[in-house]
Every structure is written in structure tokens, then in C-alpha cells.
């Protein structure tokens, strides 16, 4: 009697949802099929659309270009690369961009690490939420608005100049602006100004991965280090920093590659000297020299590949 009592509701439930039940049983038994179904859309997106267009780009860079007709010549040649690597103006553009990306990465790391450290190790509850908000908030407003805001801040009549003048430090600002290379008529058209804006814009991308990596350093390891006689600074140098290094590298990949590819900040803040992104923009647009533009866009890819290889050699991913 008790057997019948348990069988009836089960059978009823089974009858009610036969199709759904069958489907879930089918997928449950064939885990591989489910994985494939879930992965198909992103694989199609990444594999076909993204990698496909990247390959198309790579192909473009090996086509020729007729200077007179302004037409792309569809035959395989290395002329674009020769042009890219032998023309001193083009080499200048590459060098300038790479130096800026390196400086921005270093600056973001120096400013971002302490913020990430406090977030990960000291802030709790409400304070931590506030930190997250402070780091993320700039990302909620338009990139263009923020860059133009910085242009006003850095302009000759802007608040920075005004503050320096009010503090009787105008000579200091002028002295810095008088420096070769990084200086200029005002901050808003100097490399120094561009560096400040780049660092500001990409800072969250350095803080967040670094903070995540610092948070993953087990508290027990820090205690173990102290237990074995290491003072806080030694613990930081020998335990915390090496374990958080992959996070710093992840952040630097963002700041470095984003700076390499950006063409809006150099356009708004910089002088008329080109960066890689601007070169790509101009060559594919006005000049219509798509092969050279494509060759230019291969440069950041190669640089990032070299960068990641060096990072791996340095053991940046060993602690992952």
C-alpha cells in the first residue's frame, strides 16, 4: 500500500512535464553536447567574425598600392612593410606610441598599485564599496566628455595653470613645460598632458586586476612570512608582490595595448605629431592606402606578442 502511495504522485509529475523532463535528461546524459551548444555562439563570434576580420586585415597588409591612381593592387608584396620600416616618419610614429604606452603603463602601475593595495588589504564593507565606486565611476560617463574635460583642465587658461599661478608656482609649471620633448606651449598640447590624460583614462583597467590579484594572496601566507621572521617590508617584497605580479601584468596589458591603439586622445590633447592609431585612421581614410594602414595596425599586435613573451619569461604567469 505504501508502495502505491509513492508511485502515484511520481507518475503524475512525469506525465505533466514529459517534454521538458526528456530534454533535460537528454542533455544531462550528453554533457558534451550541452557544452557545444553553449559554446557555439561565442565560438562563431570569436572564431569567424573576430579572428576572420583579423586575418583579412593581415592579408590587406600584403597587397600593393598604386600612388598615382590611389588604388589597391591585389598582388602579394612586402612594399607596405618596407614603407613602414624604412620611412623615418613612420618609425617615429611607432617609437612615439610605444614610449607613450610604456610611460602610461608605468604611471598607471605606480598610481594604481597603492589604491589596489588599500582596496584589497584594508578596506572593508562600506569603504570598499566606496573605493569600487570611485574607481568605476569614470567608466560610467562618456570617454569623449572626459577627454574634452581634461583638455579644459589642462588648457593655458585652465584650472591647473590657475592653481599653479595662485600658489605662486607658475615658474614651476613653466619650467616643466619648457623641458624638451615632454613640454610644449601648454599642458593641453604637450606629451606630459597626454600622459596625464591617458593615465587617468586607463587607470581603472590597472586597479581592478591588481586589486583582484592582491585579494587572492592568502592571508595565511602573509602571517607565515611574519611568523618566520620577515618584517612587513620584506613580506611585501618576497611574498605579496610576486604573488600579485600576474595582476599587475594583466593590468599593464590593458593599459599598454589600449594606449597603443588609441587615436582620440592624441588627436584632442596632443600636438600634430601622429600616433599609430592616427596613422591608421589617416591612411585608410583620406589617403585610401589600406595596405599601409593594415601594416600599421599589425605593429601593436606584434608589440603585444613580444610584450607577453617577455612577461612570460619574467615568470609573470608562474603564480597563476
Amino acid at each position: 500500500m505504501s508502495v502505491a502511495a509513492t508511485e502515484v504522485p511520481l507518475a503524475a509529475a512525469g506525465l505533466r512535464q514529459t517534454t521538458a523532463r526528456r530534454l533535460s535528461t537528454f542533455l544531462y546524459r550528453r554533457g558534451g553536447l550541452l557544452t557545444l551548444l553553449l559554446l557555439a555562439p561565442p565560438l562563431a563570434w570569436l572564431g569567424v567574425i573576430y579572428l576572420g576580420s583579423l586575418l583579412a586585415l593581415l592579408m590587406q597588409s600584403f597587397f600593393g598600392f598604386d600612388d598615382f591612381s590611389g588604388q589597391v593592387v591585389y598582388e602579394l608584396t612586402l612594399r607596405s612593410y618596407v614603407e613602414l620600416l624604412t620611412n623615418p616618419a613612420n618609425l617615429d610614429i611607432i617609437l612615439r606610441t610605444v614610449c607613450m604606452a610604456a610611460a602610461v603603463t608605468l604611471g598607471a602601475a605606480l598610481i594604481g598599485f597603492p589604491v589596489a593595495y588599500v582596496m584589497a588589504r584594508y578596506a572593508t564593507g562600506r569603504a570598499k564599496a566606496l573605493f569600487y565606486l570611485a574607481v568605476m565611476l569614470p567608466l560610467w560617463s562618456s570617454y569623449l566628455v572626459r577627454v574634452y574635460a581634461w583638455k579644459l583642465i589642462l588648457a593655458k587658461e585652465g584650472i591647473v595653470s590657475w592653481a599653479f599661478a595662485e600658489a605662486k608656482l607658475g615658474w614651476l609649471l613653466n619650467g616643466v613645460l619648457a623641458l624638451p620633448v615632454i613640454g610644449g606651449p601648454s599642458l593641453s598640447v604637450s606629451y606630459l598632458g597626454m600622459f596625464l590624460v591617458f593615465t587617468y583614462i586607463w587607470l581603472p583597467f590597472m586597479v581592478l586586476p591588481t586589486q583582484a590579484a592582491l585579494e587572492r594572496v592568502p592571508k595565511g601566507l602573509i602571517e607565515a612570512s611574519a611568523d618566520l621572521g620577515a618584517r612587513p617590508l620584506t613580506t611585501f617584497r618576497t611574498v605579496i608582490l610576486p604573488l600579485a605580479f600576474p595582476g599587475l601584468v594583466a593590468g599593464s596589458i590593458f593599459t599598454f595595448s589600449l594606449t597603443l591603439g588609441d587615436y582620440i586622445i592624441p588627436y584632442i590633447i596632443g600636438s600634430s605629431r601622429f600616433f599609430i592609431g592616427q596613422a591608421v585612421y589617416v591612411h585608410q581614410g583620406t589617403a585610401g592606402n589600406i595596405p599601409l594602414a593594415a601594416a600599421f595596425s599589425v605593429v601593436p599586435i606584434v608589440i603585444m606578442a613580444v610584450y607577453l613573451t617577455i612577461a612570460r619569461r619574467l615568470g609573470a604567469f608562474d603564480a597563476l
Partner: protein
Amino acid sequence: MQPAVRLERVSRHFGAIRAVDEVSLEVRDGEFFAMLGPSGSGKTTCLRLIAGFEEPDRGAIALHGQSVVGVPPYDRNVNTVFQDYALFPHMSVLDNVAYGLMVRGVGRAERQRRADGMLELVALGGLGARRPAELSGGQRQRVALARALINQPEVLLLDEPLGALDLKLRQQMQTELKALQRKVGITFVYVTHDQEEALGMSDRLAVFNHGRIEQIGTPEAIYEHPATAFVAGFVGASNIVDAATAERLTGRARPFSLRPERIRIGAAAAEHGVEGTVVSVQYHGASTRIEVALDGQQVLMVDRPNDLRGEARPEPGSRIRLSWSHAAMQPLDGGALP
């Protein structure tokens, strides 16, 4: 001789939780001292107070007579073997072991030599180049031990060091740890919730409950003469007989503890006896546990060894007679046996 560790009325509260409450204890030099208790009883906090990871709200802590209150962990000459080992994942086994020497500025060749020696001591010779992730749980445990011992601490603190190992390995490591302690002659303070481990390894132990120490003594004293009902129940199994039942059984209204293995079945010529109904019979391999309900609320556990006599097991529901000697009863109201 000053005690290796002395805690005097030490308290550590976390908000409303009294993790350690007025604890006083002395660990003698060269002793294997266990701190036993259920989770949340304050034994680990006590260990962390000695290591310096926590500071007491009140009370005094001294190592060999020297007060260490306010001294940070890196300036205390004690080392800890952590429960999860806390090995540095980005360093080789050798660098892990040599870490304490490295931060003290010992030269590379010297610390390599001593770390190699330490690895030999814990039977891990030749594994120095590996990463901790490439070792088994038992091996990691030994690395943690070598890393803590290389500094030749005044006191070695061990926080449930065998908790993550399986039973066989745990038993083997218990023997090895005890032998190692005798060899190096360092004071061990050993935190565990496993009463068998505490009884088998320690020279003396403290039983913790709710942030307080219930009893301190040798394993034998703790097992044979538990001072409180908690100790009687936590260290080994015990029948706690309340005052009312005690009066019916013995004629005196004094609560007492009675170990299951000290009760005999049958009408043996013993000082005390009672009749009851068998409630359950559980086979435990070396012994059989029989639960007998007395007339009233009390149930007595009885352990009968499964030796070669091959007596028939009592059936649940049957009536049997239990007996025990007067000395088997341990009074729980502070006094001695009458």
C-alpha cells in the same frame, strides 16, 4: 627553570564573542603540550596569541619568562606549522624551508646547506627543487615542519597540522612527529580537536571549551579523572550520570562519569549493579557498543570487547544486568571518591 610558555589570565574577545576568556596555563620547557577542544573553543586563538597574530585584551603572555605582549610575530622566537601549511607557492621547496634564514640575512650557501639538512630530517631529501604544488599533502606537511624548525624556535606551535591528512597517514605522522620532538628537544604546543591525537602524543594537555580551560593534566589523568562532565564526554566516550539517578544507583546524590568499557555485563561480583533493557547493539570491530535503558530516563553505553570468548550478543529488547566497580566512577562535583 622558567616555563617555555606562560599565559596568565589572558582574555581575547571579538565583539561579544569571548574567544579566550581568563585562560592561565604553563607549558614546561621541552614538553609536548596539546590544546584540545571542539571548534570555536578558543584553542586556535590561544595559539595565535602565543604566535603574536592576536594581542590579548587582558592578561600576560611570557616566553621563558620574557613578556611578549606587544611584540610582533617577526620578533618572537616561536614558529608555527599552519593548518593549511601556508607554503609559498611561488618558491621551491628549498626556498620555502630556507625562508626564515633568508629574511635573517644568512648567506646563500649556508642557508642552502641547512635547508638541505632540514629536508633530510623530515625525510624529504632530494625534493628541494620542486614546487609545493607538486607535492602530496603529507609531503607538504613535512615541508611546513622543516620550514618552522629551521629557525630553531623556543617553541613550535602546531595548528591542527594533521587535520587535512587521511587516517592512515595521520597515524603515521603522529608517531613521526612525536619522535621528531624527542630528537630536536623543542617545546611543542599542539592544537587539535582529535582527542585520540591529544591523548596519544602529548605529555600534558589542556581541554578547552567556550574559551576557557576545563582541565589541564597528563593524558592519563584527564581520561581517568575528568574534572567536568564536558571533559568526560569530549575525551573518550562516557556515561554522565546525574545526581538523581546516581542516588538511585549508588545511594548518594553525587553526579559521576562512568566509562563504557568499565561496565561489565552479567552478575559479576562488583560493588555496583543495575538491570536494564537493551536499546541498540552496534558492532565497532574491536568492540561492540550496547546501549541499555535503565528504568527511568538514563541510558548507559557499554563497550564489550570482541575477544575470543565469543559470548552471544545481547538482543535489543532483552533484559540484562550491568555491574561496575566503585573505582570506575569518577565524581563530577569536584570531590574525590568517598
